[in-house]
Amino acid sequence: MADLHVELVAADRNVWSGEAHLVVARTSSGDIGIMAGHQPVLGVLESGPVTIRTSDGGTVVAAVHGGFLSFADNKLSLLAEVAELADEIDPQRAERALARAKSDDDSAAERRADVRMRAVAAK
């Protein structure tokens, strides 16, 4: 299967890069799956988990909070202001953050915590 090169970049660091055969991300108009040879696309990402099926058969899940994806020349760039790999997320901490955000009525924090939880669940 043809592969595409993926760069998952946060504002302050390079989160993940490598070869993959499918990347699923959530854009503002719905989920989008990108495989090698997709037509060039530039989209706005919503907060949500990004799933990367790597070439060696593994799966990488990351929680992404806002950003963009751009695909051209078989190279996909996922730009996120904040991005965390599911392995880096502490489920207990995310759960506590979710509970706290719910009690504080902070919808932005609640959404962030929810995205983290979903990323961990999708792992």
Binding site: E7, V9, A10, A11, D12, R13, N14, T27, S28, S29, I32, Q39, P40, V41, L42, G43, V44, G67, F68, S70, A72, D73, S77, L79, E81, V82
Partner: protein, 306 residues
Amino acid sequence: MGAQLRVYKRRIKSVTATKKITKAMEMIAASRIIKAQRQVTASTPYATELTRAVTAVATGSNTKHPLTTEAASPTRAALLLVTSDRGLAGGYSSNVIKAAERLTERLRGEGKEVDVYIVGRKGVAYYGFRERKVVESWGGFTDNPTYADAKAVAAPLIASVQQDTAEGGVDELHIVFTEFESMLTQTPVANRLLPLRLEEDPSAEAVGKPEALPLFEFEPSAEGVLDALLPRYVESRIYNALLQAAASKHAATRRAMKAATDNAGELIKSLGRLANAARQAEITQEISEIVGGSSALADANAGSEK
């Protein structure tokens, strides 16, 4: 011990203490430069990709967007000045403030009002002392800026760019900061962030020009993408500027403190010489007093024996 000698000893002690402090500051600054440089490098991929994407949308679509089109007659410009919170960095803050003054002068010459936004307490103090108006200022994070800080700085700037000029919005956005070229060279630069000037953007040139940009499909639409993209672009450029300014500040501190340490060393050396001379003069004086006294005694004795 003579009074003179005691004074020299005291001064040597105090200069030695100062030298220790400046040496420590030099070393701290040196270690922070490395960290700041690493952060600049880590933020580069994001900035490069973002610039590429902005270039792609701005050139690949015919959308008119307030953030990419130049106003027919710009009347107001916003200027973001990035200084440091603390001094002891040689001419670092004054150089960047001077660059801002030059830009302000030029913009005024072109008939634009200038709204000033400042990062860092040094710049705030400079404008405060001269009783000039500052729209908004931030401080406390210049040594170690985070992306959240950049977002906080960018928010009011983006809001005022999006506002109509008649209602107090601005037509242009300029940023003045100190570019970190190398450990030895840091130069204050003035860049125009908005409206975009793609052909003069060095990073866009490096990334976008050699290859023809592909025709992108926009999701949800070119306007929608641009709307979401440009604030991020401004934030990322401001973040990059803050990081470079922090690295430059540390480099300037290191150089200033190295000079201070060297000067203290020189001072200790010359004070040591003076102290030695004073001690020797004292000894010589004591000896001559003893010799003089004993010969006077000998003369007196010789007289009485007769």
